[in-house]
Subunit: 171 residues, 2 copies
DNA sequence: TATTGTTATACTCTATAACTATA
DNA sequence: TATAGTTATAGAGTATAACAATA
């Protein structure tokens, strides 16, 4: 396995030129991220069982737990889904008696979300499970590598505001 | 930003204890990967336009281009989806005249897949676009950081075979 | 019998648009 | 008017099961 050391004349003679130019998959960052995500998702259910809460719903539960009284709209925004989409998530969490809707007194359009007692218990249990899961997910990495991987991923994710500046000029 | 140096008594006094133990999101590797993937996916359509081919179908096109004569079953396996699922993908690619099914002479159950001429053109064009897209996706990283990010992601993804060995012991 | 491709069907996740009740 | 939540509906992507053609 070669290191990523740059060759003197980057481009024409760099290592990447060994890949078929029509191979959009090997050594592509986008595809590497996708594969890691699919792997992480599958491992999640291998570890917690096929009938486990989904990662997205676990995230919703965690956000409600760490932001008691958050509104549905604010939760939707944090999760990056629509207001309509959050309704089913909260319906589902409420049907399992993990979360409670309470209508806000000062603005009765809003629902404030709180964990129930069993929601608290479930979240605590999931927190333990997540810790184990994260260990397995990162089992091939040293602590330093894991921290750097997260740091690099965050650097990629937070490049959002570039998109206008670097937009391709139409030709 | 602290390095991931381990404290002598890992656990009770480690850095991770500063995060709310019920916050399953911050500094979680699984969630970092997911966010990066969502970002990469959105950036893809911001760059190529809302009506662009999806990354998954682009991948299918690329695999057919680099494996001319691949069967549908083999393509399904490479993409990690079912045989039934691949039918719609190939139907769609064929309806756009990018791909051609030819029945295999020595085994007439199989369809062999080939790019059409316009499929070749489309793939070449997508290869250029992908190169630009990858540049933007990694624009916040140095070349070394990008290579290491891919290396670390592959390390995570290829940890698959661990899952039995590291399975949590029931207690 | 086993395999390839196909169809029928269903499920999850997500979105948009129109509605209601409030503000 | 504008906003929060809801409902109805639709589309993408995926799966399983049953089937026909072929091996």
């Amino acid at each position: 396995m070669r290191s990523g050391k740059k060759t003197p004349k980057d481009g024409l003679y760099s290592n990447e030129m060994k890949i078929d130019p029509l191979d959009l998959v090997s050594k592509a960052l986008g595809y590497s991220i996708k594969r890691a995500q699919v792997h992480a998702y599958e491992l999640f259910f291998e570890f917690l069982g096929d009938n486990a809460i989904s990662p997205a719903r676990m995230t919703a539960l965690s956000i409600i737990g760490t932001h008691p009284g958050i509104t549905q709209s604010a939760l939707a925004k944090k999760l990056g889904i629509s207001r309509a989409g959050i309704v089913k998530v909260v319906d589902w969490l409420e049907s399992l008696n993990l979360v409670e809707r309470r209508s806000k007194q000062s603005d009765r359009r809003s629902n404030l979300l709180y964990l129930t007692d069993s929601g608290q218990d479930e979240l605590s249990w999931l927190a333990e499970q997540s810790k184990e899961y994260e260990k397995i997910l990162a089992s091939k990495l040293t602590d330093e590598e894991r921290d750097q991987l997260i740091r690099l991923l965050e650097k990629v994710t937070l490049s959002r505001c570039d998109k206008q500046a670097t937009r391709k000029t139409p030709q």
